[in-house]
């Protein structure tokens, strides 16, 4: 192993891991503080299978709810995401930056570089888990929350192995394909789909067996928080992780490494083919460089297509699932105490509206859309600066204001596409699942979702315009999004803070229950005005600043 490769990778990434770990720790603290305010006695009256679903040990109180919702899920997804980003940049990222050649020009073998990178992924995952462990050790004492029966240590061991699993998976794909987007896309897709599957399939007895085909099952399926470490599952995950290192070893050893360079996509091939060249040139070739709007949209077309199809299929799937979930499970949902309904996101999952809102619209759909809009907002200005293309762009006879506005137009267009896909998917899903929700309700919710996405994209744009740094814009906007969600979903549970939830943009998205009731045009207006305001703030910030790149 190479100590300096290990240390450099660690140093490059430690801040991100630290921010991720600390955020989850803070969320845990805040979550527990809020759950403490709720009368948790109802938990003891829940049917056993529901405790299973929430992965709560019997007799768990507030702590179980907090740890279950935050560490078990948000913690694992955050850490998994960090590890995927680390893993995909390990080999493929250095290739894309053109730094791998330089690294390998030193007397070091590809194998040793690979092993050092793998060690860095493990080290950083361990650091993140230790941060969570620290938070989990301190918080309950601080808030005097009862921790009886909670095996936090076991959960964290599972969490660590799970994190390393996704990191190594991304590294292996990156090592074979040399593409960071492929590596992170496949790994993150597998992680999120697994998480959803493990949450939903057990509700439907015919599909229950399918959960075992998703790696997430071996992390969460045995419910380590309640049942302790499941060594068999851990061994499977760890074994697969080692397998990924071996796969990466073979992949990186046999391939011609790239140094910068580009991919050849479908469009490039069609353009080279004399039969299709003309048509493709017309629609995809020169069309995408016809102006700033087209170029910006085209730069994000792949991600937009992915986000739009994810939301389309999710809408469809949840409709199908709605039909498949047995009556008795729905009955349980319907009998849940109000406080618990509030604690798990405010949706009454016993109704079709609540099911769609709870499973899809409250969290998954916003996250998917935020990924897109925040990225577009971030890259719009800061991205061009960091890639050193801003100089040439601004040297064109176009004012900074117009550059910004045209990027915003592209953002609105892309978000609208995702909104339409969400509508079409959930509407069709509703028809298939016989949910009995009027199409106009899905349309209204999708419209509000689109506007909420634009607001977060607008936040990224403002930060991007003010600082010209992609990391500030992306992290800042994500933080705002997280806080907004938090304020919206938790403040209403606390007596004195109820009114404050109106400060959150989420309030204007789901606060009016758009799947159940007629759309509140005032809410549409608030979100739209907020977005326009953010753009209006971004313009002078961008116009006044010294640009880089």
């Amino acid at each position: 192993m190479l100590a300096n490769v290990f240390l450099k990778t660690g140093r490059d990434r430690i801040l991100g891991v630290f921010i991720g770990g600390v955020s989850v720790a803070l969320l845990l603290l805040a979550g527990l503080a809020i759950y403490r305010e709720i009368d948790a006695s109802f938990i003891n009256q829940l049917p056993e299978f529901y405790l299973q679903l929430l992965s709560l040990p019997e007799g768990a109180g507030v702590a179980g709810l907090g740890f279950g919702a935050i560490l078990n899920t948000i913690g694992a997804l955050t850490l998994g995401g960090l590890a995927i980003s680390l893993g995909s940049s390990s080999i493929a990222g250095e290739e894309a930056n053109g730094t791998l050649g330089l690294l390998l020009a030193n007397p070091v073998s590809r194998t040793r570089v690979l092993l050092s990178k793998a060690a860095a992924i493990m080290g950083l995952s361990l650091l993140a888990v230790l941060l969570l462990w620290g938070a989990a050790a301190i918080t309950p004492g601080m808030l005097s929350v009862d921790m009886t029966g909670m095996m936090v240590g076991s959960l964290l061991v599972h969490l660590f192995v799970n994190t390393v699993f996704y990191g190594f998976l991304a590294m292996a794909i990156g090592a074979w394909a040399g593409s960071t987007s492929l590596a992170s896309g496949i790994s993150a897709g597998l992680m999120v789909i697994g998480w959803l599957a493990v949450g939903i399939f057990p509700l439907i007895s015919e599909l229950d067996f399918l959960t075992e085909y998703f790696p997430w099952y071996y992390y969460a399926g045995s419910q380590p928080l309640a049942n302790g470490i499941h060594w068999g599952h851990l061994a499977l995950l760890a074994g697969a992780s080692l397998g990924f290192v071996a796969v990466a070893y073979v992949g990186v050893g046999r391939r011609d490494l790239k140094n910068g360079g580009t991919k050849r996509g479908v469009i490039d091939r069609l353009r080279d083919n004399p039969r299709t060249a003309r048509l493709v040139e017309r629609f995809a070739g020169s069309a995408r460089v016809s102006g700033i709007v087209a170029k910006t949209a085209s730069d994000h077309q792949a991600l937009t297509a992915i986000v739009a199809s994810i939301l389309f299929y999710l809408g469809l799937l949840y409709g199908v699932f709605w039909r498949l979930i047995p009556e008795n499970v729905l009955q349980v949902f319907q009998d849940l105490p109000e406080a618990l309904i509030a604690a798990i996101g405010g949706a009454d999952m016993g109704t079709a509206e609540g099911w769609f809102q709870g499973e899809m619209f409250s969290l998954t759909a916003p996250i998917a859309l935020f990924v897109l809009t925040i990225l577009v907002g971030t890259r719009a200005l800061a991205g061009e600066e960091q890639k050193h293309t801003m100089g040439l762009l601004v040297a064109s006879p176009i004012s900074r204001r117009r550059i910004l506005i045209q990027k915003v137009v592209a953002m609105v267009g892309l978000a609208a596409l995702v909104g339409v896909a969400t509508f079409l998917g959930s509407w069709s899903g509703g028809l298939i699942g016989d949910a009995g929700i009027a199409p106009i309700r899905f349309a209204a919710t999708s419209l509000l979702l689109t506007l909420l996405g634009l607001v977060m994209g607008g936040v990224a744009l403002v930060l991007s315009a003010a600082f010209g740094r992609t990391s500030v814009a992306a992290y800042g906007a994500s933080l705002v999004a997280l806080l907004s969600y938090f304020v919206f979903s938790f403040f209403p549970l606390i007596g004195g803070l109820q009114g404050w939830s109106e400060l959150s943009p989420f309030h204007y998205y789901l606060g009016g229950s758009p799947l159940e009731m007629a759309i509140d045009w005032g809410h549409v207006g608030v979100l739209a005005a907020l977005f326009v305001l953010l753009v209006a703030v971004a313009v002078p910030l961008f116009e006044r600043r010294d640009l880089r790149g």
Partner: protein, 306 residues
């Protein structure tokens, strides 16, 4: 503001916090000339260019391009300029032609036959993606981008980075043609041989201060030359010492090597007064020597005595 000037800066100053990147820069670039802007790394060349292009804003002072205020009229100005940034980056997933299409669309279109002509002169393959090109070939696309709208003023920051000698020569010819058509070139460089070949005048910048602006001709005439005489007898240092412009004398048996920045005529007369000259070598004064002189000056902070 003077309409016959391509670039005019008045007391242009730029501070980054405590760092003075530019201090009271007064610069005039005329129409119809190639102006070489010389200085070592970190002297303030790029800061000057980015300031006059309105990418960054001066702490104080003003700049005007083609008689227009560089900030107030920045959009109007950009209709008339071509720009090659240092450390040129473009969109790696676009082909050369896509890139040029994009920038030409932002300019409201260009004459494509001229673009093809430029591509041919620079031997540039526009069908390949920028990300797959070597840095020299990428630079060619950047140059075409700057030349393609026949701008009245070309502002180029280290433009010949990575170009092979043949293409460099063609590029230099292109710059001369621009000047001959009455347009201007502002060429920031530390490639002295290039500046020497194409520039009419040069400005030398050191630590953010413009230390000299002169024509290449007069700079060269002022330069210290190494003049080596071979005599039919042993020369004596007293024969040269009194001559104005002599900066140093080395004597070896029949040879004398004189560092000299005066008129050649006078030196020849002094040399032939006592001996016959058997052989004579006068090294061409080049900007490199002048350039180094300026920077040695800076290091020692005293005038050079060779």
């Amino acid at each position: 503001m003077n309409g016959n000037l391509a670039i005019e800066t008045k007391s242009l100053t730029k501070h980054y916090g405590d760092v003075e990147a530019l201090t009271n820069l007064d610069l005039q670039v005329r129409m119809g000339e190639v102006f070489g802007f010389l200085g070592p790394n970190g002297a303030g060349k790029t800061t000057t260019i980015r300031t006059i292009l309105d990418l960054i804003r001066p702490t104080s002072g003003t700049a005007s391009i083609l008689g227009m205020d560089s900030h107030q009229k920045s959009v109007e100005i950009r209709n008339h300029i071509g720009y090659v940034p240092d450390d040129l980056s473009m969109y790696p997933n676009l082909t050369g032609r896509d890139t040029l299409t994009y920038f030409s669309n932002l300019r409201g279109g260009v004459d494509w036959s001229y673009v093809d002509q430029l591509a041919e002169r620079l031997d540039s393959d526009l069908s390949r993606k920028i990300g797959d090109l070597s840095s020299g070939n990428r630079q060619k696309v950047g140059l075409i981008q700057a030349f393609m709208n026949k701008p009245r003023l070309l502002i180029m920051d280290e433009p010949s980075t990575g170009l092979d000698p043949l293409v460099q020569k063609e590029f230099q010819a292109m710059m001369r043609e621009v000047a001959e058509e009455g347009r201007s070139v502002f060429l920031s460089s530390h490639t002295l041989s290039e500046v020497q070949r194409v520039a009419d005048r040069v400005g030398i910048i050191r630590s953010g201060v413009l230390v000299e602006v002169e024509s290449v001709q007069s700079l060269r005439s002022k330069a210290i030359r190494r003049v080596e005489f071979e005599f039919d007898g042993s020369p004596n240092s007293s024969e040269f010492e009194t001559l104005p412009g002599v900066r140093g004398i080395e004597l070896h048996e029949n040879r004398a090597v004189i560092s000299y920045d005066g008129k050649i005529d006078a030196l020849l007369q002094a040399a032939t007064r006592h001996h016959n000259v058997v052989d004579l070598i006068i090294e061409e004064a080049d900007l490199e020597e002048i350039f180094l002189t300026y920077y040695r000056d800076a290091e020692r902070d005293t005038p050079v005595k060779a």
